[in-house]
């Protein structure tokens, strides 16, 4: 295999994992825009996505499509409950306290999953076979096509929702200024609830599409959440296009790091590049410098 082809192969596989990072990063951004908090339970949504899909599809033998939607609904409901319960009932609305509550939620979800699903890694069959397709001489798994396709459709649908529908516009208004949104009569609480629900759904999808490639277990949430968080920061925290670009780039860095340096160092390489970019352009790739009134 020539070096160029090898590089192409690495980039392809990087874009595959990068797509899931992008979905996780969008989840982070949605919640951040609505509330200003970093939801550390985002990674657990991804883990739950994989686990529920395995439960519905492999254990209860439901067909693929109903399992898919049941999983999305279940994890979305968990996202909704996280906001409706702990976050809304919190006595302090201090960002740091709310962030730590999500860490508490993340630990609890992980603990509960360990009891419910056991400690062994589990996997899902790929959505449509395992015969690789050949694209310009590089092998590409059908599952990767699914991942690209689903990610692109979700990003487009979300974009349409946020730009064209009234509810979407209301969500963006809350992100722009919570107080002004409240003054214009937008039900801010409901928008925040919606952002948690959406993040749950996005996490569920990310978990379902990546599990056939990477397998899952009760404790994968933390590292996946971390990757999504980094992707969001890399692209410019809170920016939708930034989340997508950040996710894809992080995936590619990781894959190049694994392929060209060593697979043991792939996380280190990804984070090193992330830190370098942060030092050079702190607001992230798509982030805008902000002016602040004193």
């Amino acid at each position: 295999m020539t070096f160029g082809l090898q590089l192409f192969q690495f980039i392809l596989s990087g874009l595959t994992t990068g797509s899931t990072y992008a979905l996780i990063a969008i989840g982070f951004s949605l919640i951040h825009n609505a509330t200003g908090i970093v939801n550390f339970a985002q990674g657990e949504f991804v883990m739950l996505g994989g686990m529920f899909m395995i439960t519905f599809h492999s254990l209860l033998k439901l067909p693929m499509l109903p399992s898919f939607f049941l999983t999305v609904l279940s994890v979305a409901a968990i996202g909704l409950l996280l906001e409706f319960g702990p976050i809304r009932r919190a006595k302090s609305k201090e960002i740091l306290i709310l962030v730590m509550i999500t860490i508490g939620a993340s630990i609890s979800i992980k603990g509960l999953s360990m009891i419910l699903f056991g400690k062994n890694p589990m996997t899902l069959p790929p959505f449509s076979g395992e015969t690789p397709l050949i694209l310009f001489g590089a092998a590409i798994m059908p599952q990767s096509i699914w991942i690209f396709g689903i990610t692109v459709s979700i990003v487009l649908a979300l974009n349409y929702f946020l730009k064209k529908t009234t509810t979407g516009k209301a969500m963006r208004a809350v992100a722009a200024s919570r107080r002004s949104a409240m003054l214009t009569g937008i039900p801010v609480d409901r928008m925040i609830l919606l952002s948690f629900t959406f993040s749950g759904a996005l996490g569920a999808v990310a978990g379902m599409i990546i599990t056939p490639i990477t397998t899952t277990s009760y404790d994968v949430g933390a590292i996946l959440g971390l990757k999504g968080f980094s992707a969001a920061i890399l692209g410019g925290y809170g920016s939708m296009p930034g989340a997508v670009i950040g996710g894809l780039l992080l995936g590619v860095f990781e894959s190049l790091g694994a392929g060209l340096i060593s697979s043991e160092y792939k996380d280190a390489v990804a984070f090193l590049i992330l830190l370098t970019i942060l030092f050079l352009k702190p607001s992230g790739i798509m982030g805008k410098g902000r002016l602040r009134r004193v």
């Binding site: 702990p86 306290i97 609890s108 603990g111 509960l112 971390l226 968080f229 090193l272």
Partner: protein, 326 residues
């Protein structure tokens, strides 16, 4: 630091040094020894969180840096013990300075991301550089702590040393927050812009506090390595960083006595939760959430309030508690 604090500190030290006389169980003493070290890390972190308004999710890395530098220099290269611990603190401090300078200049919580990334990189290096660190199987045979030929070779002996360091850290930190620097930091965490307008070099203070807190973590890490005599990367993962942040929050941000309480409570809690076997993670998470939801100021004010009258509390003010940042 006020008469009240002096009395509290004296009483606290007295209780601490009486414990081993009553408590004979070595395992319990070991848990308390770990608590003493956690207190050092948590106090340092609370200085950063409560007084500089910044969060670090990488204190496990500084703790680990202290431990591994100490282990490598003494066991591999045969350096003398105490100078090595100082050297590890200096190196860790310089690393923290290098991370702090670019990140703390910026508005917002860039330190969180930078320290988190740093933690992961250090963790991977601990595993991968197995020629130097022993890799995933760990680093055995680290020399024990000793002073002038007296070797601290039992949990009971080392108890006094570690708790002296722990109480000493608390004493120095209480002094620090009641000094001019401490008041500047309190102003900074309350409102950074107002503090800057009042002529406080906020950037400089933030970096200094960050370096101090990293150096304290390094000290605790070195002591840990020379106490347990064996270290492995698992101890220094990102989860320890979360644990110490939790200890700060449970104790109460900005309250150093709270940090002591939080560190002791959360060091002992997992030991108690061993009894419930696989439910321990779930219960730990639920306790954390419940405390944060209902007692955002931490548990320490609640517990302290039981022993004190409200009026008394309002008048004297046990210590300088800064307001939260905007």
């Amino acid at each position: 630091m006020g008469k009240k604090n002096k009395i509290y500190l004296l009483a606290y030290a007295l209780i601490i040094f009486l414990v081993p006389a009553i408590w004979k169980n070595n395992y319990h003493l070991m848990v308390l020894n770990i608590a003493a070290l956690n207190i050092v890390v948590v106090i340092g972190l609370n200085l950063l969180m409560g007084f500089a308004g910044q969060i670090s999710l990488g204190h496990a890395a500084f703790f680990g840096l202290g431990a591994y530098l100490s282990a490598i220099f003494t066991a591999t290269f045969g350096f003398p013990l105490w100078p090595t611990i100082i050297l590890a603190m200096v190196i860790t401090g310089m690393v923290a300075y290098a991370i702090g300078i670019p990140t703390l200049k910026l508005e917002g919580h860039y330190l969180v991301m930078a320290t988190l990334g740093f933690n992961i990189i250090i963790y991977i290096l601990m595993i991968q550089l197995d020629g130097v660190t022993g890799g995933p199987s760990g680093f055995p045979g680290i020399p024990r702590l000793q002073v002038g030929g007296f070797v601290f070779d039992s949990d009971r002996k080392i108890y006094y040393l570690l708790w002296t360091i722990s109480v000493g850290t608390l004493l120095l930190s209480l002094n620090l927050i009641h000094s001019r620097v401490g008041r500047a930091m309190a102003a900074l965490s309350h409102n950074e812009i107002a503090a800057r307008c009042a002529g406080i070099d906020t950037e400089n203070y933030k970096v200094k506090v960050f370096v101090i807190s990293a150096v304290l973590a390094s000290l605790a890490g070195s002591c840990y390595a020379h106490y347990i005599t064996f270290i492995s990367p698992g101890t220094f993962s990102f989860f320890y960083s979360i644990q110490v942040v939790t200890m700060v929050l449970i104790g109460g941000i900005g309250s150093l006595w709270g940090s002591v309480f939080g560190a002791i409570l959360l060091t002992i809690l997992p030991e108690i939760l061993h009894a419930v076997k696989e439910y321990n993670v779930l219960i730990y998470g639920i306790i954390l959430m419940v405390v944060l939801i209902f007692f955002p100021q931490g548990l320490f004010p609640v517990v302290a309030g039981i022993f004190r009258k409200r009026k008394d509390e309002a008048r004297s003010g046990m210590e300088l508690v800064p307001g939260k940042g905007p």
